[in-house]
């Protein structure tokens, strides 16, 4: 199967582009991160905080809990990190 599985946003390396698939906290909606919207990961640390860029170019800081509660479908991952999210960064 070629289906891409959803991952937490802090499992994606910096520079990735993803589509938001599920929000486990409503606050993110008020910051413009909606189901189906595109985001770019500016910075991320495995299981740690992340900074994502919304469609209108605003950088949003997500603490570790918020980042772990944002599930996304990866659309593009920088070549050098392509398989990072598969390798046990999930706890």
């Amino acid at each position: 199967m070629n289906q891409v599985e959803d991952v937490r946003v802090n499992e994606l390396p910096s520079g990735s582009v993803a589509r938001v698939s599920r929000l486990l906290i409503g606050r993110l909606r008020d910051l413009g991160i909606m189901e189906g919207s595109l985001i770019r990961v500016l910075f991320s640390t495995p299981n740690g905080p992340a900074i994502v860029e919304t469609g209108d170019g605003r950088p949003i800081v997500l603490d570790s809990d918020a980042a772990s509660n944002l599930l996304v479908t990866p659309l593009s991952i920088p070549q050098r990190h392509r398989y990072r999210h598969r390798y046990g960064s999930r706890q």
Binding site: I25, G57, R58
Partner: protein, 663 residues
């Protein structure tokens, strides 16, 4: 009594976090309101009274929010006020850098049916980023007055004052139906009619706003039908609002919006090198500031030495009064005066950290690691803000929703060296090291406090579960990254001036008063009055109260080669850190210049480094202890204070041992 005022109106100042609300209120009223470049600076309501012509205006500065559904305690304070407070109108402070986010919030205020003025702030930064907004087109689309503003330099404030008076004259158009919610409209009307509430409130009831549970119960049948037809109403409403915000932005932004990150951001926020880069930036800044200020310190010292105080005292006959003026009043006053460059330098660094947006850059790369020892991201922001003063940082922790996070943050803030402690440390550093190295030694208190926080949070977290019955789970936190700026504007200058002035006045009064008390203790003992000669006679001083108290704790510091006069001074630091230096002056019977000389001759480098380590967090001042007790309770405050003392002592011994090996 107030007949001359024709009308009184109440205006709420609402806006995105970090958009400049408090700066605008400060600008309109002329009062100093503490502001900073990180979300959550305003955690409670600030009420400011303002008079324009014969109109008395009550401006209510509310904590920043992204929407009317709140998840953080400070946001809840704001949304409760907006939904329940009886306001005549609102000033919505938006950011030209986040136009969509601004419109998203603005819509929710408009739907409440009150007159709204939009102050579109940070227009200068938007222009710098190449963002051009057609304000006139925006006015037409939204049907409300919009003022492009730059709060930091006062641009747009005159127009804003004029528009506030128009709220009183009811001449501002109200645009309540900005968005057509389609299938939800009939339910909005039904809830609105049932509750006799404005459209905005009805939408919030349908969305399931936690603050409107009672209203939701009254309209539960309508809400159920709406959910049946539409599904997740909060998702539906949010999508409609974002679509609307996006369509307006497309129409009014002439040039594209770009990501608000600078090249420096990419270095500072980098999880691997960010923290080192931030610290390097801070210490370069500290070095430069103290190097530039050093000639000023010498100049003030020279000026003070030119005052012929000794000759003037010859005319005072009574030796007791002579000693009081010279040893208690003049010595302490000269210490306060010589503080000025140091206080200014520390105030400059603290204001820069707060206003440049560096706080967030420091917390982001550190968060993951500090999480492991139990510190939350929002707590980390207040921890760094504690460098200014531990008291407001500790009281700000009420904005942290999880009680575990709140308690651990409030308990850890006293481990952060505040401005007063940094001032004493910088003077010790200046006394023992060449001026070029003063900034380098300033790294020591921060490293020490980081170790302190890491050790104590690990020890205290398990204790919390034993002591507190009810601990609530952690609440995820997300916010828009504030811009990284060089904060050179009149508000920054005002802030540095305010910090310097406040500190000097407060510390000045304290130091002079405390020195007078110390003087009494140093010329009297269990046998009664000894006289001013005790100040210069080392045999007589042994019989004074001051000496007896000082000697009682000196064995602890003897191993560190710290003379009893210095260890005794530290004890008085329990009252206020500002009095440590004046205590040293009284105990050595010297003036300001004398303190630096005494420190220079009394301390070897290892002892000085141990002393700096100890001063970093051996005790918070009384004001911090009281605030801490209010947040965490008396029992935890006492436990924490004892733990701080023991850890500070242990670390100073370790630093002393390492320094002996290295130096």
């Amino acid at each position: 009594m107030d007949d001359k005022y024709v009308r009184r109106i109440k205006i709420g100042v609402v806006g995105l976090p970090n958009s400049g609300k408090s700066t605008i209120v400060s600008n309109l009223s002329g009062l100093f309101i503490r502001t900073a470049n990180y979300p959550g600076t305003t955690v409670s309501i600030n009420v400011v009274n303002l008079t324009i012509k014969n109109l008395r205006i009550q401006l209510i500065d509310l904590p920043g929010i992204y929407s009317l559904s709140s998840e953080m305690p400070d946001e809840e304070v704001a949304t409760k006020e907006i939904l329940r407070g009886n306001y005549d109108g609102f000033i919505v402070v938006g950011s030209a850098l986040s136009l969509q986010q601004t419109i998203y919030l603005l819509v929710q205020l408009l739907e409440l049916g009150k007159p709204v003025i939009l102050a579109l702030n940070m227009m200068d930064l938007a222009r710098k980023q190449g963002i051009s907004i057609n304000v006139e087109a925006m006015r037409r689309r939204l049907g409300i007055p919009i003022i492009p503003s730059v709060a930091a330099s006062g641009v747009g404030m005159g127009e804003l004052r004029k528009l506030i008076t128009e709220i009183a004259q009811s001449s501002i158009a109200v645009n309540i139906k900005v968005i057509d919610y389609g299938p939800l409209e009939k339910y909005i009307d039904a809830v609105s009619a049932r509750l006799n509430a404005p459209r905005g409130l009805a939408i919030e009831v349908l969305r399931g706003n936690d603050l409107l549970k009672e209203e939701r119960l009254k309209a539960s049948d309508i809400v159920s039908k709406a959910i049946e037809e539409i599904g997740q109403i909060d998702v539906f409403v949010a999508r409609k609002r974002w679509d609307f915000a996006s369509s307006i932005t497309k129409d009014v932004v002439a040039r594209g919006i770009q990501v608000n990150l600078s090249k420096l951001d990419y270095i500072l926020l980098n999880p691997k090198v960010g923290i080192l880069a931030s610290l390097a930036l801070l210490f370069t800044l500290a070095e430069v500031i103290f190097l530039v200020l050093n000639p000023l310190v010498d100049y003030i010292s020279e000026l003070l030495s030119m005052i012929p105080i000794g000759e003037l005292m010859v005319n005072v006959g009574n030796p007791l009064i002579q000693s009081f003026i010279m040893d208690a009043v003049w010595n302490s006053t000269s210490i306060v005066l010589s503080f000025i460059p140091y206080v200014f330098g520390v105030a400059l660094i603290v204001a820069f950290i707060e206003d440049s947006g560096l706080i967030i850059r420091l917390t982001f790369p550190l968060e993951k690691w500090l999480r492991r020892i139990g510190l939350p991201s929002r707590g980390l922001i207040y921890l760094i803000a504690g460098v200014g003063c531990n008291v407001p940082a500790t009281s700000s922790t009420v904005a942290i929703p999880s009680s575990t996070d709140r308690l651990i943050t409030a308990l850890m803030i006293p481990y952060i060296p505040c401005m007063a402690r940094l001032l004493v440390i910088s003077l010790i550093a200046a006394a023992i090291l060449p001026s070029q190295l003063t900034g380098v030694v300033m790294i020591l208190p921060f490293v020490t406090s980081l170790i302190g926080v890491m050790v104590m949070s690990r020890l205290l977290l398990p204790l919390l579960t034993h002591i507190r019955v009810k601990l609530t789970a952690r609440v995820p936190y997300a916010y828009e990254l504030p811009q990284l700026i060089i904060p050179i504007n009149r508000f920054f200058v005002k802030k540095v001036w305010h910090y310097t002035y406040e500190f000097l006045v407060r510390a000045g009064i304290l130091i002079v008063a405390f020195s007078a008390l110390m003087w009494i203790l140093s010329i009297s003992g269990p046998s009664g009055l000894i006289g001013p000669e005790a100040l210069t006679n080392q045999t007589l001083i042994r019989s004074t109260w001051l000496s007896l108290i000082g000697y009682s704790i000196s064995p602890v510091f003897k191993l560190l080669n710290i003379p009893w006069q210095l260890s005794a001074s530290l004890m008085y630091g329990y009252v206020f850190k500002e009095v440590i230096l004046s205590s040293m002056a009284v105990l050595y019977g010297t003036s300001e210049e004398g303190v630096i000389n005494v420190l220079h001759s009394a301390l070897q480098l290892p002892s000085a480094l141990a002393l700096i380590t100890f001063i970093t967090f051996y005790s918070p001042c009384i004001a911090t202890l009281v605030t801490e007790a209010r947040i965490v309770g008396v029992r935890l405050t006492v436990i924490n204070a004892i733990a701080q003392l023991l850890l500070a002592l242990a670390l100073s011994y370790i630093v002393y041992a390492i320094a002996l090996l290295v130096v």
